[in-house]
């Protein structure tokens, strides 16, 4: 199908963009790569009155490489991360993830900020950035604020992004030199959305251990018992720890099949770290 009629504006600065959003009083949608939004418009699932195109704002393409973190502008594309054209705080995890995300022709336009703003439950970045303890920076006409990614995504396509706010960037702490990560995405065909997805970070020097599930019928799901067991170097009880974590997530209403997928994916991703 074809997208419904819409107005379009391409502001020249972030300040102008947030002003336009505020003036539109909820009728406007921000468009960056448009790889989900235009598809949703073509399917008539979205019909915004105004598109505010931020894809070429220089502020949002900026990358800052500090001693303890890397800040990626919201409009950095998946392809730029895949190709290593931007600094990598994650010792190879983020380029690996980017390479599994959609198809190359999607990755050349889709952006990390767009992925967070939509927070598709099956998307990669919300889970991976939650595992990396990243923070998202939001910008409105009056203020700037930062939120942990674990708090930013609140549910299925639900975030704390307020009307009139634009994601400016994501600050990702750097993993230590001897940190280990695991990543497994289960999908029937390369590039599809995940049916199950697990990210594991084990960073002893920074005392950071975290196991996160994506495609989990809601916001990324942090597995607390499993994370603790990973911090202790593993052991024979990993399966029970994962089961306990999944039991506690009864609000996700996993059916038996989904539960099996999540258990297996979590276990295999953990094994990558402990191997």
């Amino acid at each position: 199908m074809k997208a419904p009629a819409v107005d379009y504006v391409r502001p020249r600065s972030l300040a102008e963009a947030v002003e336009l959003l505020a003036k539109a009083k909820g009728e406007a949608r921000v468009i960056a790569g448009g790889q989900s939004l235009v598809a949703m418009m073509n399917l008539r699932l979205a019909s915004p009155g105004l598109l505010v195109d931020i894809a070429r704002l220089p502020e949002l393409a900026a990358v800052r490489d500090d001693s303890d973190s890397v800040t990626l502008g919201a409009c950095v594309t998946h392809a730029a991360i895949e190709d290593g054209r931007v600094a990598d705080p994650s010792r190879g995890l983020m380029p690996r993830v980017a390479a599994t995300l959609g198809y190359r022709a999607i990755r050349t336009r889709g952006t990390i900020g767009g992925s967070l703003a939509l927070s598709d439950p099956a998307a990669e970045w919300p889970a991976v950035l939650a595992a990396l303890e990243a923070e998202v920076t939001l910008c409105s006409p009056t203020a700037q604020r930062s939120l942990k990614c674990t708090e930013f995504t609140t549910g299925i396509f639900e975030t704390k992004l307020a009307a009139g706010e634009i994601i400016e960037g994501v600050r990702i702490p750097k993993l230590s030199a001897d940190a280990r990560w695991g990543y497994l995405k289960l999908c029937r065909k390369s590039g599809e959305f995940a049916s199950a997805l697990a990210v594991v970070i084990a960073d002893r020097r920074r005392s950071h251990w975290r196991v996160v599930l994506g495609a989990a019928n809601g916001a990324p799901l942090v597995l607390d018992d499993t994370s603790r067991l990973v911090s202790a170097g593993g052991g024979g009880e990993m399966g029970s720890a994962i089961a306990a974590d999944l039991d506690r997530a009864s609000d996700r209403h996993f059916d038996e099949f989904q539960r099996d997928l999540h258990s297996v994916v979590a276990l295999r991703a953990v094994q990558q770290v402990l191997a």
Binding site: M1, K2, A3, P4, A5, V6, D7, Y8, R10, I31, G34, Q35, V38, A39, M41, N42, L43, L51, D53, A55, A79, G102, Y103, R104, A105, I106, T108, R109, K189, S190, G191, E192
Partner: protein, 161 residues
Amino acid sequence: MTAIRLRINGAAIADDVPPRLSLADFLRERRNLTGTHLGCEHGVCGACTVLVDDEPARSCLMLAVACDDREVETIEGFAGDSVIAALRRSFHQHHALQCGFCTPAMLITARDLILRDRARSEREIRDGLAGNICRCTGYTNIVTAIAEAAKQIGQEAPNGQ
């Protein structure tokens, strides 16, 4: 209506377009470049893949207005492009198309795989083609044709360029 200026297959174009018009429909309906095909119109089938600023992109998921000031290359372009020439020969030789609907985008995607050196094995080629659906061939001959073209290009220029 919004005024746009862009380059298509090297030629400077200026036009007025409604913002909802996709790049694919702009190419097909306004520029008569019907080699860009529309299958699913939501980014899954890959038939509408073109180059935008030298990178493959889904023309069904790009608005024509967002291509203002950009360069677009469609299958009608690529004059003098040695990789596309090798792929065309190889697709012909290996019978890598039947109805031809997916072929323009297959060629553009395969060219990108070869130039990024991501056509080094059957597995890698199949991975790289996951976003381009063909309903006729079963892919076997397409994969063979791309592998063969990649080999030829590699022999001509060892750096894959």
